[in-house]
């Protein structure tokens, strides 16, 4: 009872105080109030920001003549921050499938708690820290080509995302050299046979209690030996859930799984160099009829040069992708026009080939996959 009386007294005081303040504010002229509001907004501890990117484009495969406006993508990124304590970031990717249906993909949604100068804790679904492309170069205004290198798109050799927890940050300088790290633990990936018969590593973390397998541990360590350069090595170790045990379709088997990655980026003057290698290794199945294990590997090297005066940027990229069933090679030439640093028109021609066993005969056959692409991309 005493508590209640005290409480209502405080309440009364604050009502009086706020009405006094309100009278003072309304006596002020409108302009001052606006300035005050802006100042309050600037200084608020928490807030939202919308960032992201979008791209629209056309592609035509030479031998198939399937020319169409098929590169439509809109990826809003939502940030919520509370002071320097927490930052939430979430990206949703909208794209249009061949049949016109809208496809929605949650690229990432993760909370980052800043623990100290050198460490933050990431929880949720985050981009795979293995290598660089998936995490840092895939947004269309960042990627200097209209598409991903072979093996670095969804369902290739490169890993997409993880569901789990990560510790990451910059480390204290050693001999004046900056370096940074990520270590993570996440749910296991799955191995599936796609409707077209291709074996896919579903390198997006699932939430299915690791499908009865163990969690995956991984990380990346990188140094910046000189300005504009970063050299990184990354790896992961765990089990992968095989959902296709053919002798017993209901049984999920855990198979050995490890990943290795190496990457290099160097931006010097108007030159931009990028290269990356990634491999995922899957152990053999205990099931004699199970899917063959093996190595999924992909690599690319890219060089670009910005001609400031003309706002032009020629790009050259070479890449390969190999898994137990298929082999792809590609050399791509591109030319970009920069309306501004974040609004870019791209044109590219890709010379490629793909070798895989023929569906009927089982004999390895190679087809050409030469392709023309054009795209307008921007980041906001």
């Amino acid at each position: 009872m005493k508590y209640l009386a005290q409480h209502s007294k405080v309440l009364m005081h604050s009502v009086i105080l706020s009405s006094m303040l309100a009278t003072m504010a309304s006596a002020d002229n409108g302009e001052d109030v606006t300035v005050l509001q802006v100042a309050q907004e600037q200084n608020a501890l928490s807030g939202f920001q919308l960032a992201g990117y979008a791209s629209f484009g056309y592609s035509n495969t030479k031998d198939v003549h399937d020319g169409s406006f098929d590169l439509v993508n809109f990826s809003p990124i939502f940030h919520y921050g509370y002071s320097d304590i927490l930052q939430f970031e979430g990206e949703v990717e909208f794209s249009i499938a061949a049949d016109g249906e809208t496809e929605i993909d949650m690229e990432y949604a993760a909370a980052n708690l800043f623990l100290n100068n050198y460490m933050s804790l990431t929880l949720g679904k985050f981009m795979s820290p293995i290598g660089q492309f998936r995490q840092n170069f895939h947004p269309s205004w960042i990627n200097k080509m209209p598409d991903a290198p072979v093996g670095f798109g969804h369902g290739g050799a490169a890993l997409s995302s993880n569901v789990g927890a990560a510790l990451r940050g910059g480390l204290p300088k050693v001999l004046g050299i900056r370096h940074n790290y990520v270590v993570y633990v996440s749910n296991a990936y799955t191995l599936e046979v796609a409707p077209d018969g291709d074996v896919d590593i579903v390198a997006e973390g699932s939430t299915a209690n690791n499908n009865g397998t163990a969690p995956t541990f991984g990380g990346r360590y990188a140094i910046d030996p000189i300005g504009g350069m970063e050299i990184g090595i990354s790896g992961a170790y765990g089990k992968i859930a095989d959902l296709n045990s053919s002798s017993n379709p209901d049984k999920i088997t855990a198979r050995d799984y490890n990943v290795l990655g190496a990457d290099l980026t160097y931006h010097i003057g108007n030159f931009d160099l990028r290269g990356e290698y990634v491999e995922q290794n899957i152990g053999e199945s205990t099931d004699p009829l199970g899917i063959e294990g093996g190595k999924w590997q992909a690599a690319y090297a890219q060089v670009a040069y910005q001609i400031d005066m003309l706002h032009l940027e020629p790009v050259l990229r070479y890449g390969f992708y190999k898994n137990p069933e298929l082999e792809q090679k590609q050399t791509a030439l591109g030319l970009n026009y920069l309306f501004s640093n974040n609004i870019i028109a791209k044109m590219a021609y890709e010379f490629g080939n793909r070798t895989s066993p023929d569906e009927d005969t089982g004999v390895d056959t190679t087809i050409k996959t030469d392709k023309f692409l054009a795209q307008l991309a921007f980041g906001f």
Partner: protein, 92 residues
């Protein structure tokens, strides 16, 4: 094994906390240096005038995670960007 992992983690966080003497003054010169070293590596430079002061605060925390920066480096770069912003385009 699990307890060992937990203890190591907690000790690590604690050590890193004490290692970093709290100092809150932004070093704009250092910010300029790290900005030139880091901010062109992954993507074309985003000019200070591109974003509002408020948006820079969120994007810098975002880049702290992406680019593996320390909190001090993030603060210094932000101070440098906001200083260039107010001198170049007169906005705050």
């Amino acid at each position: 094994m699990k307890t060992l992992l937990k203890t190591t983690l907690i000790t690590l966080v604690f050590c890193l906390n004490t290692l970093h003497a709290e100092e809150n003054k932004a070093d704009v010169m250092n910010g300029a240096q790290v900005w030139t070293d880091v901010c062109m590596r992954c993507h074309n430079l985003r000019q200070p005038a591109d974003l509002s002061t408020r948006a820079w605060k969120f994007s810098m925390n975002h880049m702290r995670i992406r680019a593996g920066l320390t909190a001090d480096e993030t603060r210094d770069i932000q101070a440098f960007i906001l200083q260039s912003k107010s001198t170049v385009d007169g906005t705050q």
